[in-house]
């Protein structure tokens, strides 16, 4: 059971609040990654406020709960905000992001014991392997819940992803729903300029995965896609969603470019961003 189970209208309000947190967090320390965080906000909010079955009384083992892994750890702001808003820790702690002695490290880690995080990520390409391992342990434990993992599209340039992709199909790890944030951008430019990813659907199909596509910035389309993915589990194949998102979604001057991958807004830009991310009753941390 999802502890929130929000309506689409409530999800939209929550997403706007999470986006406000993201731009305020990166602005406060003049560092961090707003672009991918904003693009993936609707996905995170969908998982934690509607789709996933979990308890905010966090345990590392998560027996009987759906688990989430973030492989592209640099979009930590969206995850931290979502976890806090979902009830894993106090939203006031978001103010410690990237500061000394914080549990909210630049990239997510278990090292300081932040509730909700089960493995460190940041060095790219490792999260799919860890998620597959956790999924196989669920099978050994006769635990029917699911494992979700998010990867960046640029991250697919790492070879380990394809080692894991091959393994997942061979071992029929069908209790996992992987998602690729297909925003088409990476630090040095568009993915097609830097290292063309080509036909990802065909690639994952050739590796033996059940491939779905989704619009990651439209709840009316994203929620049915996530339900479809859930229904596709348990059929002998790993499931992957190629999710189109717009980097910087919700803040017009951050959209459509790789330039806001890892750059924080200045004071003036923050004000404009917050105006664009209006919420009926904002409860900023």
């Amino acid at each position: 059971m999802n502890p929130h189970n929000l309506s689409i209208e409530e999800l939209k309000q929550t997403a706007a609040q999470v986006r406000r947190d993201i731009v305020r967090m990166v602005h406060a320390v003049n560092s961090g990654h707003p672009g991918g965080s904003l693009g993936c906000t609707d996905y995170f909010v969908s998982l934690y406020f509607r789709m996933m079955n979990y308890s905010t009384d966090f345990t590392m083992d998560g027996q009987g709960e759906d688990l989430f892994f973030l492989s592209n750890g640099h979009i930590s702001p969206v995850w931290y905000s979502t976890l806090a808003r979902a009830g894993f820790f106090d939203i006031k702690e978001l103010a410690t992001f990237r500061k000394l002695n914080s549990r909210l490290q630049g990239h997510p880690t278990t090292h300081e014991g932040l509730p909700g995080v089960r493995i460190s990520s940041g060095s790219l390409g490792q999260g799919l392997s860890a998620a597959l391992g956790a999924a196989q342990t669920k099978k050994l434990n006769k635990d029917k819940s699911l494992v979700y993992v998010l990867m960046g599209d640029g991250e697919l340039e790492e070879g380990q992803i394809w080692e894991a992709a091959m393994y997942a199909a061979h071992h029929k790890v069908d209790n996992i729903i992987a998602t690729v944030d297909r925003n088409g951008q990476q630090i040095d430019g568009s993915t097609e300029e830097v290292m063309s990813l080509g036909d990802l659907a065909a690639k994952f199909r050739a590796f033996g995965w059940h491939v779905l596509e989704a619009d990651g910035n439209n709840f009316e389309l994203l929620l049915p896609a996530l339900e479809h993915a859930k229904a596709a589990t348990g059929n002998g194949k790993p499931v992957i969603i190629l999710m189109d998102t717009e980097m910087g979604y919700g803040v017009d001057f951050m959209m459509g470019s790789h330039k806001w991958h890892g750059v924080a807004p200045n004071d003036e830009q923050l004000e404009i961003a917050l105006q664009q991310l209006a919420v009926e009753s904002a409860s900023d941390y």
């Binding site: 590392m60 083992d61 998560g62 027996q63 688990l67 892994f69 880690t109 278990t110 090292h111 089960r118 493995i119 460190s120 990520s121 940041g122 060095s123 390409g125 490792q126 999260g127 799919l128 392997s129 860890a130 998620a131 597959l132 391992g133 956790a134 999924a135 196989q136 342990t137 669920k138 050994l140 434990n141 635990d143 070879g159 380990q160 080692e163 894991a164 091959m166 393994y167 061979h170 071992h171």
Partner: protein
């Protein structure tokens, strides 16, 4: 010099394989992963008896480390198996982030360490693995000396919560430690009490140190010989106590002299009670093809090299 005898020689990797099988029977949470080297790692018996708890990963070591880290979530105790080179250097960042920094209960089990891998040559003969692994915060590093000790270590690390690097080898070597000796992580084993020099050895060099002890006794030199099976955490107390008595040190290991057991001992001594030290180790070079015996001879890792190092270090004592 205390008498050490043996009736049988066996490879330390078989100690690992037999230990893993026993663990499988004792602990249902133990799972095995291997990157296409089941025969070399002696994991076949475990795979046969517990197929549902064994995962063939193929030639994909990075994925294997990540899988193992993930499998700990939900309470499994993964034992990964491949050659020492592919267990460490090839996957250093995966171990660093997904295992060590994440504090995961993964046992990285590495065979064919060092020169004694033999004919395959330097591409496979890793001599830097102890250094790489001991630099990772929270990592325990163990290099047992014979079949019995490797089996005992395999059983012991399952009881230890946290990441472990277990290093063993390919060649058959004398079995001289008692089959019933309990393995205590981080506790040095006194093999011979002596007064003139402390010889600290690890892995295959422990037996060579015993052979050297006999040669030294014939020369009238009383060597204290200590088996350091756990390089990290180092049994600093045992090191300091012995050197306080003997006043000089020889370290012996099948590893680069940079970053191995010798450096750990030197650091422990330098910060408390400095003493002359000589290294028996590979002198910052790669190996090459040859038989294990030829390689140990060429790269200076025999009992005679230990004797020569002892004579040098004793002459440096004030």
């Amino acid at each position: 010099m205390k008498e050490y005898t043996y009736t049988e020689k066996k490879d330390t990797r078989s100690g690992f394989g037999d230990g893993l099988l026993e663990l499988g029977r004792k602990n249902p949470n133990v799972v095995g992963l291997c990157a296409d080297l089941i025969g070399s790692l002696k994991m076949g018996a475990f795979q046969k008896e517990f197929p549902e708890r064994f995962f063939q990963v193929g030639i994909a070591e990075a994925n294997m480390i990540g899988l193992a880290a993930g499998m700990t979530i939900g309470g499994k105790i993964p034992f990964t198996g491949t050659f020492a080179n592919f267990s460490t250097g090839r996957v250093y960042d995966q171990i660093r982030q997904s295992v060590a920094y994440s504090g995961k209960n993964v046992k990285i089990c590495a065979s064919h360490a060092g020169l004694t891998l033999g004919e395959d040559g330097a591409t496979h003969q890793i001599l830097e693995d102890i250094g790489m692994m001991k630099m990772l915060p929270g990592m325990t590093v163990i290099n047992p000396c014979d079949y019995n000790q490797t089996k005992a270590a395999t059983l012991a690390i399952a009881e230890h919560e946290g990441p472990v690097y277990l290093r063993f080898g390919r060649p058959v070597v004398p079995i001289f430690t008692p089959a019933d000796q309990k393995f205590e992580i981080g506790k040095a084993v006194m093999l011979n009490e002596g007064t003139d020099v402390s010889i600290f050895a690890t892995g295959h060099l422990v037996w060579k140190a015993i052979l050297a002890g006999k040669l030294l006794a014939d020369k009238g030199i009383s060597a204290e010989i200590i088996n350091i099976h756990t390089i990290k955490p180092l049994d600093t107390e045992a090191v300091l106590k012995s050197v306080a008595k003997t006043g000089c040190v020889v370290s012996a290991e099948e590893h680069n002299r940079l970053g191995g057991l010798g450096d750990s001992i030197a650091q422990a001594l330098a910060t408390t009670q400095p003493a002359p030290q000589e290294y028996v180790a590979v002198n910052d070079t790669f190996g090459e093809s040859g038989t294990p015996e030829e390689l140990m001879e060429k790269y200076g890792l025999t009992e005679n090299d230990i004797v020569a190092a002892v004579e040098r270090v004793i002459s440096r004592k004030k």
